[in-house]
């Protein structure tokens, strides 16, 4: 049975990648299990300068999911390069994905440039879809023009495989996808979180200090699946399917829709061993549905 796939020229032992923002820089998980079993992991979204993120509360409970409004708390690209990457090298020996965010086209490009010489970084994932910072991310992800612009600038700034992470909070995600592909994206990851909110009946105020937050978890799986299916028909580059994945069956379903690889996000927070458990369950689930080579599933439902 073969679980390996190739993502923008890099071969992964399996398609399961831990999603950005739910896996930190890997350290807390490496204490629990050998994370070299992962296809890869995407580091916490990184900006040019360090960011403290939004005031708390940043987290709210939802039916089959959660809201977060972390707001891109991160130590800034220089510390990620000088401190986090060397730490990662101690426990993880495969290429990692660098998740990049910014508040201007130039900032995105500059962060990509600084990552250029980092041998550990296998792919850059351009997050143009963070719903939790004002004037940042999401603004780029909701317009095909802006998405194209930032992709173009990043493309010029780096030779690494460039994956653009799309927002689901749009009328036509295929249009944004095509704009990114046209400007040189090597892959697309989707979806980031759906904009949502919760109110506290006791205080009669939003639960989150940021008022709105991003919805993730099994609740969003059908929406993510639909968008992967739509984008698969719109572009030729490989897709990373993200949103609510929490079992090996979900991985297969997302690949059938058109994903070459998948990312597992919130499931890591609920079950710290989620990625490992899913990877271990893959062969049995493949056998159940008569799958010999996982690659054969990619786009199989079209």
């Amino acid at each position: 049975m073969n679980t390996s796939i190739t993502l923008c020229g890099v071969t992964l032992s399996n398609p399961v990648i831990a999603a950005s923002g739910t896996f930190g820089f890997g350290e807390d998980f490496a204490k629990l299990y050998d994370i070299n079993c992962l296809g890869s992991f995407s580091m916490k979204g990184t900006t040019l300068l360090p960011r403290e993120g939004n005031p708390t509360p940043r987290i709210a409970e939802c039916a089959c999911g959660m809201l977060n409004a972390v707001g891109l708390q991160n130590p800034g690209i220089d510390k990620v390069i000088s401190e986090e990457l060397p730490k990662i090298a101690e426990f993880y020996h495969k290429p990692v994905m660098a998740n990049v965010s910014g508040f201007s086209v130039d900032e995105y490009a500059e962060v990509c440039r600084r990552l250029n010489d980092q041998a550990q970084v296998g792919w850059i994932e351009l997050n143009i879809s963070c719903p939790n910072v004002h004037g940042g991310g999401l603004a780029f992800g909701t317009s095909p023009q802006a998405a194209g612009q930032v992709t173009k600038a990043a493309r010029r700034a780096t030779k690494k495989p460039l994956i653009v992470k799309l927002s689901p909070n749009v009328t036509d995600i295929a249009e944004v996808a095509r704009a990114c592909e046209a400007e040189g994206a090597d892959g697309l990851s989707l979806i980031n979180t759906l904009l949502g909110m919760r109110l506290d009946l006791k205080t009669r105020r939003p639960v989150l200090n940021n008022i709105t937050g991003g919805l993730s978890g099994p609740a969003v799986f059908p929406v993510a699946l639909r968008m992967v299916y739509q984008v698969y028909e719109a572009v030729c580059v490989p897709l990373l399917g993200i949103g609510g994945i929490s079992s090996a069956a979900d991985v297969l379903e997302m690949m059938l829709a058109g994903a070459t690889a998948v990312q597992v996000g919130s499931a890591n927070l609920i079950n710290p061993c989620a990625c490992r458990d899913i990877i271990e369950a893959l062969p049995a689930t493949m056998a159940e549905y008569g799958v010999k080579d996982l690659k054969d599933m990619i786009g199989g439902a079209h």
Binding site: G21, T22, F23, G24, E27, D28, F29, K31, L32, K44, E52, G53, T56, P57, R58, I59, A60, E61, C62, A63, C64, G65, M66, N68, V70, Q73, V207, G217, S266, N268, L269, I270, N271, P272, C273
Partner: protein, 243 residues
Amino acid sequence: MKQCVYLVEENELIAQNTYRMVFSGDASAFTAPGQFLNLQISGLYLRRPFSVCEWEEGCVTIVYKVVGAGTQKMATFKRGREVDVLTGLGNGYDVSKSGLRPLLIGGGAGVLPLMMLCKTLLAKGKQPSIAMGFGSAGEAFFQNTFEELGVPVSIATMDGSLGAKGVVLDACRMDACTYFYACGPVPMLKAVCAASCSDGQVSLEERMGCGFGACMGCTVITQSGPKRVCTDGPVFAKGELIW
């Protein structure tokens, strides 16, 4: 941190809306009073964090107040039920700093982690005393347990139905205090830190996504930058905090 399956052994009402739940299971990940566990409740997505009130080999006790959907469900847990828990979370109190006569200050559910802390201090030959604040006499708990341990107890209630009338600070002399350990709602912690001339440690609460450091959901900004309540805390030195 360890992921364990615990078995509910007891789940009894000990004060108004307040339950004590005793589990059997692997307690080996707990190393310091003030640590917590994160408990999965079927039908709810996020785990729920609770301070460990006491533990010994094979046995862990929490005390919880019913405040919402999760704790409502917990109140229905029967003996023998299996519960998925992440254990040994957080740093816990540093007992090495206590001096001979530390003051323990707890507000409401904040009294809970102080029980284990108190026992640990006593075991080290210290002479702790405790001040506790509650809404009213009906919500109070642990008074007897502390007294049986020979620890001086002072109590305040908001409605004056037990002890001094007022907040916990009305029941203790911060000026005589040489070191303190505090746990409770943020306004109380803020007031305690402001009133104290001595050094001390406080335990914070924050809404959590994971409870083990992965999501940055529980960040507090400290003198040395952003810290995660779940892993860098929940206990912080008074001097670290920016109120």
